[in-house]
Symmetry: C2
Subunit: 496 residues, 2 copies
Amino acid sequence: MGPPNETSPRGDARQPRGLRDLSGPLLRRRAEMLATIQGVYDQFGFEPLETPAFEFVDSLGKFLPEQDRPDEGIFALKDSDDQWIGLRYDLTAPLSRYVAQQGQNLTLPFRRYQVGSVWRNEKPGPGRYREFIQFDADTIGSASPAADAENCLILRQAMRALGLGVDAVSIGVNNRKILDGVLAGIGFSEGQNDPRALIVLRAIDKFDRVGIEGVRDLLTGGRKDESGDFAPGAGLSDSQATAILAFMQAGRSSRAATLSALVDVVGGAARGQEGIAELQAIDAILTGLGIGDDEVRFDPSIVRGLGYYTGPVLEAQITLEILDDDGRPRQVGSIAGGGRYDGLVSRFTGKPMPATGVSIGVDRLLAALSQLQPSAMRASDGPVLVTVFDRTQLAAYQMMAAELREAGLRAEVFLGQGGLKAQLRYADRRNAPVAVIAGGDEFAAGTVSLKDLVEGQAMAGQIESRDAWREKSRAQITIPRAELVAQVRAILAAHS
Amino acid sequence: MGPPNETSPRGDARQPRGLRDLSGPLLRRRAEMLATIQGVYDQFGFEPLETPAFEFVDSLGKFLPEQDRPDEGIFALKDSDDQWIGLRYDLTAPLSRYVAQQGQNLTLPFRRYQVGSVWRNEKPGPGRYREFIQFDADTIGSASPAADAENCLILRQAMRALGLGVDAVSIGVNNRKILDGVLAGIGFSEGQNDPRALIVLRAIDKFDRVGIEGVRDLLTGGRKDESGDFAPGAGLSDSQATAILAFMQAGRSSRAATLSALVDVVGGAARGQEGIAELQAIDAILTGLGIGDDEVRFDPSIVRGLGYYTGPVLEAQITLEILDDDGRPRQVGSIAGGGRYDGLVSRFTGKPMPATGVSIGVDRLLAALSQLQPSAMRASDGPVLVTVFDRTQLAAYQMMAAELREAGLRAEVFLGQGGLKAQLRYADRRNAPVAVIAGGDEFAAGTVSLKDLVEGQAMAGQIESRDAWREKSRAQITIPRAELVAQVRAILAAHS
């Protein structure tokens, strides 16, 4: 087996679905955003780690939501060693493998951040890609709820550093142990290990999309969606479903009130009580730091889709509406999430190893930021363009560009075809602030001419015949060759 | 078919061969290195682009060296759309697909840079990984040899910006067209399109490993290596092989002398003459910029392994020896390369589109830099550690850390288990400069204690009983709680 042997000599240029190219201003904005997040992770004491894209498939585990076959959701293949390897679908599974592999070498608690692509072999859709970037911070080796509280602090601080205030972002926290308590109360034997628990988890996780009655249907007899597709239900009784819905709807306007409501629905199971005590500990830290109920709320409808969480889970949402590609308002939804996964490392080692962390969905957050902060999305300043009129003087043109770069400026020699007009058109498209012009006259006289393109662009917006006007209006000066750098700098300074 | 359905409940933590994790100081050093290279690419007028990891397999083409089956070398799989997709093996094939797809939307010449992982499904070896990072800069839409000369300028500037001078790096340039001329002279009908041409290319590319007699064997009857494996030859006659070897060995101590020697061996084929004229144009620019024969040389033994090059090719080598993991001196070899590939975009469009660029091998360069500039590899300054003695005061400890972070410092609250000794040991391993200590006495008195760990570490190196000495010697002061930030800053300032 292998890919087809024959390549068409002239294939169409196309891309697999659910993948995309990013360029220019968006990438520069993303780099700034990632640097800001990294700064926050650094401040909280995390250190960088990078794991490869591939892991053995059995290292990755089967924790993806809504996947029924074990290989579904993962891009997997047999490598040249005849081993099944798969692309990571998150950064948590590789971290767990790393921690288990390092063993005693690792100083605990181990705090690391990692940014990188993850891949999911699923059906793509609008805003749903098969390759996307996550930026995670995790703390391994701490069972303390203080580490879970820090997840909230880190996310909150990252959002603030990005200019997203309490009006723009809401952080919700829940605890899987409380759900376990509720499940025990309705007769599930082993909490999350009951085979029906995963179906319950997925049903609750669909709340945002299907509403409370939709969740009830998924918990009981099943649900038919708008397209007519039928999703089978968990087969719970009405009273069982009601208990779960009461849990999901226990959210109140304050963390304290939500805790009271949860005490009423959780029942007597020890694991549920433990979950409430952990939320109380988290609340004590948040309240002690003056973090209000509007900044971090307790929300029992948050469960997170991944199967591996064992304790507190959290999710950050952009609460402002943004516009989609067609100009219609839409919800951004969750841009970060995470939680405690005390069982992942012990899959490898057999020894307990508490772990908790957060993951920021970089692409979604970038999409939101580029709409909420459009001014930060301006195109970069283009390079000074050294135009070319005399091909025997290529070294002289290169020397001009080299001098400008030496002075710390962006500069390029025009390498395409065409005369002055074509070269100035190129300069405009490249957002070049200045064009350097030198032909036979200038070389003979030891001069160069400079065309101020920023001035031309600014004025061109105000009048009618843009091109014609631009051509004559643009300030052009002729200066001694030796003053090239100083005069270009003077023009740039006048516009900054 | 799919990956195995059964996962062992307790797998060993291990990694597929040829992959690795990177952490801490090395990653921070790499980030600096990439920022430096990006700064140079930016200065030359390039803009960022990012393409996804996957392309359709037929978009990637079959240009990898030493691969006989079409899928060899590429990690390929059928995705959920039942399409063959593959992980990119370089950044040039995806760029070509992008340019073809953009068509008229693209302003030409188009100058872009891209950094990212590439994957090769080959046998890994020492220093030979199946995932590695390349950082490319390419110019699309310029047929001018000036664009090829700029490849040299960009690589040279990037190396200088990284602190690698003419004593450390050597750049070699050749032209595939000259080889085409030589091949035409020995009776190859269509230059590189002759089926034997690729075998010749691979033989020349092995020169560094097998020497000149090894290349002769590979060009003629074949060669048996040390392990006894036999590599079949190209079946050329002795006189044909001699012509190719004469070409390979035409390198002289100056670019001008090499050009003269090449004129003697290239013969009358138009394409070979064209290749020499291009090298002459490149030499004129380099010489005009004062770039000496020691910085950029013409080296006819450089052909580059990838099959898609059509004109000038170049390669940068670290000429200083470094030590391998066992302390033995070894050559770093090529850390960057590139060339002209005028046929790649037209594979998609059927229209000619000239293109040329350079690619820096980030991992090899990083390995070299970390040996050549060990001082730049110091560990980052660790966070201030807020130790924990009273678990009912977690919010108060978190407030201390929050204040320190607010002041721009790295700080973390200890989240693990253990008393003062364990916490200070953790602080040492984390390279923490200061430990903040507060127990019942301090909380009652409204004070905190600070332990200066840098001083302790510095002195500890000088005496014998490190641990015992450290315990008593470390400066510890008790200060009003309100002065926490100011006093921590004072300690850090005293050490900086």
